[in-house]
């Protein structure tokens, strides 16, 4: 037994070393990010003070935390991520349920179309969407929460972009639930909606969890859509666009250490989120049975 065990251990060590070497660039990147936020200047990975001597540790880069602007951007980012998650989960689970259970004309075409949309790079749609949001801005009440330069408008667009993935994912999870469970619930006295809410919804909970985490993370770190559809300035920024505005300033030279601090600030919730939910997130790729059309 002992002799047999050794090669396996050795295999594991080799795999570990290979993975470590491959991850070094990423690890170094994060290391730089963290060191930079606490240093006046960095030479490579070396924190130095303004005169180029080793040291120069400072918390001065984190002073932005006391600015109102950054918290406004954080609040907006949170709104974007939350509303997007709620919207994606609600629409995807209902649509996925229908697509999994009901046979209707055009079902197959609809599924194929969503798949095509999923493969479509969202950048190509930006100009067209701009006109749609501009059009919304012309409608009296709607313009307040759905038009151009509103968080609502950005939520709407980001949500739509996320739907193809969500619908397919949820359809896959619903496909995995046996018809008989649903029939049993109907016979036990559930209405259609009650069956969905009390029986089907709990059974696809892993799918819901995976999708919400994925959506939240996408919403939190999205850049292109908020950058295009928010004009910037107070109240019209998310963290990613705030970060961008710091880099594109013409007057002051770019303070990379400050930039790193804001970047890390944006990263923290995602890291925490991922750390606690990585098991669920893995289910996106393994749990749902991606049934055919």
């Amino acid at each position: 037994m002992k002799n047999k065990k050794q090669p396996i251990e050795l295999n594991k060590i080799i795999i570990f070393i290979v993975l470590l070497i491959l991850s070094i660039p990423i690890i170094l990147g994060y290391l730089w990010l963290i060191i930079s936020t606490f240093a006046e200047v960095t030479h490579g990975l070396l924190p130095v003070d303004r005169n180029g001597n080793f040291g120069g540790f400072t918390l001065e880069n984190w002073n932005f935390i006391f600015e109102k602007e950054v918290w406004l951007a954080t609040w907006n980012t949170l709104l974007l991520a939350l509303f997007m998650t709620v919207g994606v989960v609600a629409v995807s689970s209902l649509a996925g349920y229908a697509l999994s259970r009901i046979k209707f004309n055009g079902r197959k075409e609809f599924l194929s179309l969503t798949l095509v949309l999923h493969a479509f790079p969202s950048i190509t749609l930006l100009i067209a969407i701009y006109f749609v949001l501009k059009f919304f801005s012309g409608i009296p009440v709607l313009k307040l929460f759905m038009g151009y330069n509103t968080i609502g408008g950005v939520v709407l667009v980001s949500l739509a972009m996320q739907l193809p993935l969500g619908i397919w994912l949820m359809k896959g999870f619903f496909d995995g639930v046996s018809w008989d469970v649903e029939r049993a619930a109907l016979i036990d006295g559930c209405s259609r909606f009650r069956t969905f809410w009390n029986i089907m919804f709990p059974l696809v909970r892993p799918g819901i969890a995976a999708l919400s985490i994925f959506s939240f993370m996408t919403g939190w770190s999205s850049f292109i859509i908020p950058y295009t559809f928010l004009s910037g300035g107070a109240g019209h920024e998310v963290i990613s666009t705030y970060l961008n505005s710091m880099m594109s300033s013409d007057t002051i030279s770019i303070n990379y250490n400050l930039l790193a601090a804001v970047g890390l600030f944006q990263l923290i919730p995602i890291l925490i989120f991922y750390f606690f939910n990585q098991n669920y997130l893995m289910k996106i790729f393994s749990g749902g049975t991606h049934g055919g059309v």
């Binding site: 046996s178 469970v181 619930a185 016979i187 036990d188 559930c190 059974l203």
Partner: protein, 363 residues
């Protein structure tokens, strides 16, 4: 509760799953739907349950038309092949789920759950999740969930198919016992003729969405009214071959594949004499005789299967193989030449085209 199904037709697209199906079930009766896979028996059951809506026809429960009533308004219980327990609820919650929907009190729920748990012997499992139970236990829970509603009609959709052979036999007895004890009207869908024969008071045989017959199980065996029933019911299956009935010296005979003649002691319509028809005889109705006589046949044993109590013997007879049962003591081996003779009252004759029995017509 009496159940009557009238001219029920259910189509899926262009496929007719159930075709003009009519049946009267009396209160307290245990009815089995028997047929091969895809014959429409489960579709019929789900239509009775209200999961499917029929294209035409009606379903009447105790004088009340429920054709288009919702499943929840029919007061039925159903047990599925896949158990279909709610995996996220404990056994107790599974059982009382229907009561919870009716907003029954905690006390009533506990009492009712205890009652069915005692009846089914699952009292010690109430706290567990379905995933922690064996197949047999899960099926008991599913049965408990169906019984707790005190349904007027209990539906079974091949409930024992996923269980192992031993458990199937004990569950068979148990379901039968509970049904008799509670006097519930039952419809039991199965493709297993032994289940249908042992449990049911009456068996409805289906083929391609059409009702073949509806009669007590023993009659099904002795009075098959179509060739399909003759070949489907009974194990080992009935021997069937094309032949004729002829009259000779006032007696009637049928001709075996090897041209030998065997006597028929049955009243057959003289109109079919000398016409090509389907002849059937069950393996257990053929006996081995020591010496060849005028109305016995001779053949060589080609295959031999010990079944325990009997041996199943395949005998080459002309260009056909006839199956018969022999006692293990007879010491028959492959290659032996044996003489055999059919019990002359047990012959079955079927029309070549329609497959209908030429001896009896029951519906």
């Amino acid at each position: 509760m009496d159940v009557s199904i009238n001219n029920l037709t259910k189509k899926f697209g262009n496929v007719t799953a159930v075709n003009n199906f009519s049946l009267e079930i009396k209160s307290g009766e245990f009815v089995a739907f028997l047929g091969p896979s895809g014959c429409g028996k489960t579709t019929t059951l789900l239509t009775v349950a209200g999961i499917y809506k029929p294209n035409s026809g009606s379903i009447v429960f105790g004088g009340k038309d429920v054709t288009f009533a919702q499943p929840k308004d029919r007061n039925i219980g159903m047990v599925f092949q896949s158990y279909a327990l709610y995996p996220h609820m404990s056994v107790y919650e599974n059982i009382v789920f229907s009561m919870k929907l009716k907003k029954a009190s905690e006390e009533d729920k506990k009492k009712a759950a205890q009652e069915v748990a005692d009846l089914l012997g699952i009292g010690h499992l109430l706290e567990r999740k379905p995933g922690e139970l064996s197949g047999g236990q899960q099926q008991r829970v599913a049965l408990g969930r169906a019984l707790v509603k005190k349904p007027q009609l209990l539906l079974f959709d091949e409930p024992l198919s996923n269980l192992d052979a031993r458990l199937r036999i004990s569950m068979r007895t148990e379901i039968k016992r509970i049904q008799k004890e509670l006097g519930i009207t039952c419809i039991y869908v199965t493709h297993d003729q032994i289940e249908a024969m042992t449990m049911a008071d009456k068996v409805a045989v289906l083929k391609d969405g059409l009702l073949q017959t509806f009669q007590p199980p023993i009659e099904l065996h002795t009075h098959p009214c179509t060739e399909f029933i003759g070949s489907f019911v009974g194990n080992p299956p009935m021997n069937l071959f094309n032949s004729k009935v002829v009259e000779k010296d006032g007696d009637i005979f049928t001709i075996l594949p090897d041209k030998s003649m065997m006597k028929v002691n049955k009243i057959v319509d003289p109109k079919v004499y000398n016409k090509e028809l389907r002849v059937g005889i069950r393996p257990e109705d053929i006996e081995i005789v020591d010496k060849g006589t005028a109305d016995s046949s001779t053949g060589i044993v080609s295959l031999f299967e010990p079944l325990g109590r009997d041996n199943l013997v395949n005998v080459r007879c002309g260009n056909k193989t006839i199956q018969l049962l022999s006692s293990p003591k007879a010491g028959i081996e492959i290659g032996d030449t044996i003489n055999f003779k059919a019990v002359d009252t047990q012959w079955q004759f079927f029309d070549l085209e329609s497959g209908k029995s030429l001896l009896w017509h029951t519906k």
